[in-house]
């Protein structure tokens, strides 16, 4: 299956793009997607604890399952205002 990664701020810089397509085995979780990204972008690994995972607009965690076509957003700590 394919999920769309939406990356923001410093995570977007690490992934060198605000969005990318990620191919994963069927039934993969948000945590598995993160691990897959870390394999390609090693700078991502230390950011897990400070990063919120959001699937199709809803807060998720490492165990939340992904489905084909989902958007997984990676949100580093906020800096608005």
């Amino acid at each position: 299956m394919t999920v769309r990664i939406a990356a923001f701020a410093r995570i977007g810089e690490i992934l060198r793009s605000g969005t990318l397509e990620l191919s994963l085995p069927g039934g993969a979780t948000a945590g598995a997607a993160w691990q897959s990204l870390c394999a390609s972008f090693a700078q991502l690994a230390p950011l897990r604890a400070s990063t919120r995972l959001v699937i199709n607009g809803a807060l998720a965690d490492d165990g939340t399952p992904l489905h084909d076509g989902d958007e997984l957003a990676l949100l580093p700590p906020f800096g608005g205002g």
Binding site: A9, R52, G57, A73, L75, F78, G79, G80, G81
Partner: protein
């Protein structure tokens, strides 16, 4: 009321107009500007903001809804700018109208505190020396009940 993530200059007067009614006795507004010096004392040339537009707008609405009831009835409007901002430009503007001033002050301060903690917007500080850094807000502190 009025909630927006916009990539154009903010219009405080429009926010005020959106919240005022004949029952408004007090209006409190907050505007956050790009200032010339960072918190750690570095000369700043500008700020770049980005947002998860859909989530940010939803969370702005949630913050506004909370602010409009938590301290007493109030009307709340919030706009946050995204894109590249120069010194002196407004990054965020909030207007709160209420029958009584205490409610308006409390709701406005709550709105900006919660915005900074909860709304998915990011800020990259550009320095006069050419460097740039993503700046994170302090972790959320639970609001006083």
């Amino acid at each position: 009321m009025h909630y927006a993530i916009v990539d154009a200059p903010l219009d405080l007067a429009a926010l005020i107009a959106a919240v005022r009614t004949a029952a408004s006795g007090g209006l409190v507004t907050f505007v956050g500007y790009v200032r010339e010096t960072s918190d750690d004392g570095r000369p700043v040339s500008g700020l770049d903001y980005e947002a998860h537009d859909e989530l940010a707008l939803r969370e702005l609405r949630a913050v506004g809804a909370e602010a409009s009831t938590r301290f007493g009835p109030a009307r709340v409007a919030i706009a946050h700018r995204v894109g590249s901002l120069e010194l002196g430009e407004a990054a965020v503007a909030i207007a709160v109208a209420a029958a009584h001033r205490g409610v308006a002050f409390d709701a406005c301060e709550y709105a900006i505190d919660q915005l900074k903690a909860r709304v998915p917007i990011w800020k990259r500080e550009r320095y006069r020396d050419g460097d740039a850094r993503w700046r994170e807000n302090a972790p959320a502190t639970p609001p006083a009940s």
